[in-house]
Symmetry: C2
Subunit: 229 residues, 2 copies
DNA sequence: ATTACTACTAAACGAGTAC
DNA sequence: TGTACTCGTTTAGTAGTAA
């Protein structure tokens, strides 16, 4: 929907709406529309035919011009664009940010923490998936990625509460839903352990990522982190 | 500004904003952007170059991708689009409607009314121009135009108050700022007299329109009526 | 007046590739 | 890996014109 070339159509819809065609049937000649679009009469005519074929407008041709009404589908397209823009402009944080890092092997502590029932229950409840009992460690190599990671810490996160058992205390964890390599839905977790520095992130997912994505140490992995509204 | 071909740029800006580039410097490869745009890597590259040249983004090229930040100018473009859409979607009335009618000669009563000092003062104050002492009468010939005129009556108007003198009462008048033949700023006035039916409108303007636009009886005239917010 | 077809021109696109 | 050039191909745009 509204792919690539359809932008001209959305723009044309916008111009038609400026003439009131989203509320009432408006009489608009192709010549007049052409002027508003900064294009030729023929191009305006073609656009209208395409919009009509696409079901975005209803068009009746009369000797004095076209009677044009934007359909509900067309209005919905305009509203969609509007809400996208509103979201972007009003949102405090970017809707998503991308991090890249190199796979490395940790000390296997990931499994230990993830396996804790108190954490697991919360992961399932708040992230919507049951994490594979292990983490994928990524080393951030560029200044950009390290800086981005530190910005991420200030964003609203899915908060996993800490707890304590007989022997020790387990701290709270911040997670961010994320897409790994544009394929797998998982989450970035920050501060699961304190002894990794700001240049490391850990990933959890419903699968064993190393196998699922055929990863080996040193491979570069891209993670698209979704921030919360 | 933002003419014709620049729409692809606005939509590219939108995509960049979705990656957070309107708030922070984001690392975005041309390949990645291409995916979001549904275009080739080369096209994405070209778009970024064009946006950069146009001052809409600030771009730094690194071996791992482009660091991109939408400039204030670029953000302003997005906000402009947003407010246009918001206005269209939230407004109760279309921002403008177009009427067409044929010039005809009335009984000369227009001058009589327009010349009344009590009306004149209000026209100058509320429309921002001193009307030529006469009206251009237009006969609406199509169902569409008559229907549109009747819709117009329900829209918010510049209200001119009525008054009475020794001999009689002069009723209130509704006017709508309008552009005549895409050239002259004037106003449509409704219900100045009651004995014309719904298929007639009268136009006032700072000039003698018949002379200024070289109009004769039977000529078709286009009027773009601006409704009020 | 209009709309919109056909035939042509101009512009945008993207594969290949250099860096 | 990246970006971005050239250049052949595809697509969009327009002039002329029929209906």
């Amino acid at each position: 929907m509204s792919e690539k070339h359809e932008w001209r159509h959305i723009f044309t819809l916008l111009k038609l709406a400026e003439m009131g065609a989203h509320r009432r049937t408006a009489k608009i000649s192709t010549e007049y529309l052409a002027g508003k679009l900064g294009a030729s009469q023929q191009t305006a005519s073609r656009y209208l035919i395409e919009l009509d074929n696409g079901g975005l407008i209803k068009r009746t041709i009369t000797p004095e011009g076209c009677l044009i009404k934007i359909t509900d589908v067309g209005v919905r397209e305009l509203k969609k664009l509007h809400s996208t823009l509103r979201f972007l402009i009003e949102a405090e944080y970017p809707p998503s940010i991308t991090l890249e890092g190199l796979v490395f092997t940790g000390l296997g502590e990931g499994s230990y923490y993830i396996a804790k029932e108190q954490y697991r229950k919360q992961f399932i409840e708040r992230l919507g998936f049951e994490p594979y009992p292990g983490t994928l460690n990524l080393k951030l190599t560029t200044d950009y990625d390290v800086k981005t990671r530190s910005e991420l810490e200030a964003y609203p996160a899915v908060e996993i509460e800490g707890f304590k058992n007989e022997t020790r205390t387990f701290g709270p964890v911040k997670c961010y839903p994320a897409t790994i390599e544009n394929k797998v839905k998982g989450a970035v977790i920050l501060a699961l352990r304190s002894h990794y520095d700001a240049s490391v992130i850990e990933i959890i997912a419903p699968f064993f990522l190393r196998k699922h994505l055929k990863l080996k140490d040193g491979h570069k992995v891209k993670v698209e982190v979704l921030t919360l509204p």
